[in-house]
Symmetry: C2
Subunit: 425 residues, 2 copies
């Protein structure tokens, strides 16, 4: 029965033109031939189901069915071309319900990972992309060339509003450009959103006056939609430049509206929770694709991993994600499964975060380039002399790296950095 | 270093009271002791990070840190108690960013699955739960005891508005109570949302007149938030009782607002995409927990699997999910890792869907009880004589099952059912 329902979805001679193309890694279930599992995926993610239908005409099928046009049993990679008519433009949830929907649960597959999507021009044009992008962020922060330096107020939770603002102040005065809330800090009993934002922005102004540099705060507005929007508008009304959101926990529908509301805020995307479905190399959805969706929708900054930190994520993968969100033309290979042409969609600033400390800055900048935010929480607040000295050490490491000075030489002039490196090597 | 940062998060003597409790399956990374990995999870999901912090006071830590209070190396299951102050009430994205956030990506763990959460009373009370629930839905549809019978218009995509409405009409006339859009059908070039809803509701009225039964249509409003709300309000204005949403693709922030808007629509949750993170038994998030979140937020109907269909999902798991959303007191065991007291949160109607046909109804009802929607797409439209006869066959199988008549006897009186069983056995 299955054979009949899924037949016709394989066509190795097909040459995609304006189609949307998805690349999957596929392991069929026991006793299911690879070709059949591949066709089952193409069927279920376009117009078919497990049994032939009285209501599906041949003409309809010819016009709308997806086609497996590339299939490699050795690598497990299949490529499927989807007619663009299968997708509602500008609707990310609909896209995901199609190509990242039922397919993961089908009995015909044992493992299935959506690795990449190539979006055709007409689909890309239905999205705005980032309002600011890398250049916009640099312009606002008046930092032309070097990576931005950021920290997360730590501990994640526990500080009250006043303490939070004080920690932020110390980080800014030490040399951080950006200070953000952590992913689970929203509006707590002991640290209310409005009060925290007011107090932290007041000390941001103070930090700007003292340092003579631009400083920015990224408050976490993660919440049910209308509360999230209320908080975003509130921070904007106080002269805050940023809103940060936990993109995975919040979800695509609300993220699109947050962007489309065009509040004039730089949007910072934290990816907490992504590894529930991105980490397994054989099943789920790739972080590369999540990053592409963030660029399409229009986040200005996105966490991509740290290469060298506390989180899982190899150098090749993190580099590929960085390129995907920062370059205009993407070529296949080196972690990119499919090519992409981003047209006039602005580049997103990659945020490297998770277990970083000053000693890791040279390697990070070498791998990722200057267009990144180097963000360290523990690596700043864990400094034996406290937050301010931790931020000073990080800035020292960054300035030395920009001048090409090895950190071991920089420590001769900079005792804060020397202390940090003694602690973390 | 890691030892020091994570120490103090294990306390087997701790007895949770008003804490929120999470159960995880845990496999530590190579060379990481089980206890250390467990503490790393408790730390990262509450107030800690990879290195000790100058900014974290002892008092703060005592008050707010999570505690691994149960740990079983053999089964891999750990239980963590979180002080309730770590969570913002009524904010599901914040909850997930905490307990289902960074933890999945930590280097200390190889695999980690969030199996279950026990929500304390005070947390549960910050949510509305379903507006209608099982009794509300039964009241509106005037079906007192038997399972509801539903179908999905098939093919998923391809029909225009008129054809879509016609297929729905045939399904209703054959005996379906409910007809729904498929998960990837929103507003397409060839099938526009407004036009489809208008035409389908017109034929619903016709079906009600002819059949003398209540009939309902579940249009898919999956979209970016404001468009989703516009569509939901539109269907309500036309006298539609339902809105259906792809919960995973849409995301929690928008789902909470859809519920809280209290539009007076029965909310139907399709779970397309869940298997990207629920299917692997060793990593990700359990479907049981997703179901609990849907009940908390307040969906009235939720896809739970079919036990016997095209999708992955064992009998024990699907039964446990059904109980979790339909019972008030949940005991540990039989697929439930933790207990729960749902207080006055209404029960959610379980929807069984995915590869069903009339022949599977007796087994399904035996396993799941009467409080379900039996939903079949291919199992109706794949009938050799078409949709109407397919729906007739399904209704015949359902009525026979309710009377305790084996289907093989029912086929003697009902040729539509006989044809269906000959095809699908």
């Amino acid at each position: 029965m299955a054979d009949k329902a899924y037949s016709g979805y394989l066509n190795p001679k097909y040459v995609p033109r304006a189609d949307l193309i998805a690349a999957f890694y596929l392991e069929p279930a026991a006793k299911v031939p690879f070709e059949e599992a591949a066709q089952a995926v193409a069927s279920e993610s376009s117009i078919g189901t497990w049994t032939p239908l009285s209501t599906l005409s041949k003409k309809m099928k010819r016009k709308l069915h997806a086609r497996v046009f590339s299939l490699n049993k050795r690598t497990g990679i299949i490529k499927i071309a989807y007619p663009l008519a299968l997708f509602e433009k500008g609707n990310i949830p609909q896209l995901l319900s199609s190509v990242a929907g039922n397919v993961f649960g089908m009995k015909e597959v044992k493992n299935l990972k959506l690795l990449d999507i190539n979006f055709p021009n007409r689909y890309i044009r239905s999205f705005k992309g980032p309002r600011f992008g890398i250049q916009g962020v640099r312009h606002i922060l008046k930092v032309k060339k070097r990576p931005l330096l950021g920290t997360i107020v730590k501990p994640k939770l526990g500080l009250n509003e006043r303490q939070h603002a004080q920690v932020a102040l110390q980080a800014w005065l030490g040399g951080c450009d950006l200070v953000k809330d952590d992913e689970n800090l929203t509006s707590m009993r002991f640290n209310k959103f409005e009060k925290r934002v007011r107090q932290t922005l007041r000390l941001r102004d103070k930090a700007e006056k003292i340092s003579g540099e631009r400083k920015a705060y990224m408050p976490n507005v993660t919440a049910p939609f209308s509360e999230m929007m209320r908080r975003a508008k509130f921070v904007k009304s106080l002269g805050c430049e940023y809103a940060m959101v936990d993109i995975v926990s919040v979800g695509w529908s609300a993220l699109q509206d947050l962007r489309d509301a065009d509040l004039g805020l730089i949007l910072h995307a934290h990816r907490a929770g992504h590894a529930a479905f991105t980490r397994n190399p054989r099943h789920g959805i790739s972080m590369l694709l999540i990053a592409k969706l963030c660029r399409l929708i229009g986040f200005d900054q996105l966490h991509v991993g740290a290469i060298v930190g506390k989180m899982h994520g190899g150098k090749r993968e993190v580099k590929a994600i960085g390129e995907e969100i920062e370059d205009t033309i993407i070529h296949k290979g080196k972690g990119h499964v499919l090519s992409e042409n981003w047209l006039n969609i602005k580049p997103v600033l990659a945020v490297c975060s998770g277990g970083l400390h000053p000693g890791k800055i040279p390697e990070l900048v070498k791998a990722m380039g200057n267009d990144i935010v180097i963000q360290m929480g523990g690596g700043v607040h864990g400094h034996p002399f406290g937050t301010r000295h931790g931020a000073i050490a990080a800035r020292q490491a960054l300035e030395a790296t920009m001048k090409g000075i090895p950190l071991k030489y920089a420590t001769m002039k900079h005792f804060e950095l020397a202390i940090a490196l003694r602690k973390w090597g």
